[in-house]
């Protein structure tokens, strides 16, 4: 089975699958593990039938907000899509990972909740000297409300603030 280091998402890939918008409460309730971590490595391989490419993303966990922290401080996420050799498979709507990036992850059974919705890129805001969790991935969201409104999915938020919100939701 061919395994290759994934060429993931340094440049844009369209995210287009049709998704129902999940708010923070639903993301939190759906996840069995919520962590903030750094992407250590990504590997891609064909499945046994040579029909689909899967990516395995290793995360070094920095904070654990829900679920037990991993023993060795690392977790692995496996999802559809990636590049092996000349073939690139894009599953529109899946989260994209770049080695070295930090992300807030809502996980369930080693997968990202709600495809791209359960991943939020985290970056340092030097102006305000705080970590910011950016918006959910650019998925095609459907909602029963006004067009384009999908809760807080499109706004950055201070990680400290988000941590308190999530932990409150977990407690409840």
């Amino acid at each position: 089975m061919a395994i290759a280091t994934c060429a993931v998402a340094a440049l844009p890939v369209a995210m287009a699958s049709l998704m129902r918008a999940m708010d923070l409460a639903e993301l939190t309730a759906s996840a069995d593990q919520i962590v903030v971590g750094d992407v250590v490595s990504t590997e891609c391989e064909w499945d046994g039938g040579h029909r689909n490419i899967y990516s395995t993303i290793e995360i070094s966990v920095q904070e654990s907000w829900k679920g037990s922290p991993p023993n060795n401080g690392r977790i692995k996420i496996r999802q559809l899509g990636g590049t092996v050799g000349e073939i690139e498979m894009t599953v529109h709507g899946m989260a994209r990972f770049t080695r070295g990036e930090r992300a807030l992850l809502f996980l369930r059974q080693s997968g990202v909740v709600g495809m791209g919705q359960g991943k939020r890129h985290v970056q340092w805001d030097p102006g305000n000297k705080q970590w910011l969790a950016e918006a959910a991935e650019g998925i095609e969201v459907v909602s029963a409300g006004a067009k384009g409104s999908s809760g807080d999915a499109h706004r950055s938020e201070a990680l400290n603030q988000l941590r308190e919100k999530v932990r409150a939701l977990v407690r409840n």
Partner: protein
């Protein structure tokens, strides 16, 4: 005007609104930044409507698929060469994956990718999508050339139902989505169009649109109406039906990627596959046909020479 017609117009005012303005379009690219496209303009997608009971019949799903395909295709869109043909699949599997077979399928028993993934021990492992996903589109392409090689669309008929919200506006506000509306958008991706605007983590760096300008934001600040109304806009209401028809930007995008070159698509072979005779000359494919005749004549001459030597 009947009460029914009036209700339709009230419920779907956007369908009778003034023509949509033009703004720009954005192409999908590979991880290395190459724009993606099919290399041949004749495409076939096999529709597996599933089995009743559903809101629409199998034939109605096929008809809606044909309408969604037609708006992207010649001759309805005269400036393009694309001919996206829908074939109703009555047998065979609706499996998706890299098999050079383009599939539109409904998942009704479990919302999982088919066939299941085979692990290293040779065991089938179900690979299921979240219930929040209404439809999933996967595309295989050549990372070095940008050529699209295979595309599949799966619809979640486990957690949602799919109907015709123009014909049945009473379904708006339920868990029923408009099938033709969703499929038209997904077919835009199948053909190589990206969303027409930028979300904060959608692209690093931000893509340029066809005018060379950075694509506009999808949400903050609110985009121009032409962007929000396009078929390739990324966010819609569940009851949306506006995307059934292409905006001027959608049309421009597909015609720039696949300009009309008078290609001729031969009739579909019995297996529903696709072949193509393409030519840049405005002779309706006659040059290419002539070339094929020449090749056949040469092959016949080679055969005869060998035969005469024996």
């Amino acid at each position: 005007m009947s009460v029914r017609t009036l209700a339709l117009l009230l419920a779907f005012g956007s369908l009778v609104a003034a023509p949509r303005d033009a703004q720009a379009y954005v192409r999908e690219v590979t991880n290395s930044g190459l724009p993606v496209a099919w290399h041949y303009p004749c495409l076939t997608m096999q529709v597996y409507p599933g089995r009743p009971p559903q809101i629409l019949t199998a034939d109605e799903y096929v008809a809606a698929s044909e309408q969604a395909a037609a708006v992207w295709s010649y001759p309805a869109l005269a400036c393009t060469d694309i001919r996206l043909t829908i074939v109703k699949a009555t047998q065979g599997s609706s499996d998706v994956g890299y098999d050079k077979r383009n599939v539109i399928a409904f998942r009704q028993d479990t919302w999982c990718r088919q066939p299941p993934q085979i692990d290293d021990a040779g065991m089938a492992q179900p690979d299921c999508y979240p219930s929040s996903a209404l439809a999933v589109t996967s595309v295989f392409k050549n990372a070095k050339t940008g050529e699209i090689l295979d595309a599949d669309i799966e619809f979640n008929a486990v957690d949602y139902s799919w109907g015709d919200l123009v014909d049945k506006p009473g379904l708006v506000g339920t868990t029923t989505a408009d099938f033709q509306n969703a499929l038209t958008h997904e077919l835009g991706h199948v053909l190589g169009l990206d969303h027409n605007c930028y979300t904060i983590t959608d692209a690093q760096p931000r893509l340029n649109d066809n005018t060379g300008s950075p694509e506009v934001d999808c949400y903050n600040p609110p985009p121009p109406q032409a962007v929000a109304d396009a078929t390739m806009y990324p966010s819609v209401e569940l009851g949306d039906t506006l995307r059934r028809d292409l905006s001027p930007d959608d049309e421009q995008g597909i015609c720039d990627i696949y300009p009309h070159r008078h290609s001729v698509c031969p009739p579909l072979p019995s297996n529903g596959g696709c072949s193509v005779v393409a030519t840049d000359s405005p002779d309706g494919g006659q040059t290419a046909m002539l070339l094929m005749v020449v090749v056949l004549l040469i092959a016949a001459l080679v055969f005869l020479r060998r035969y005469l030597r024996v």
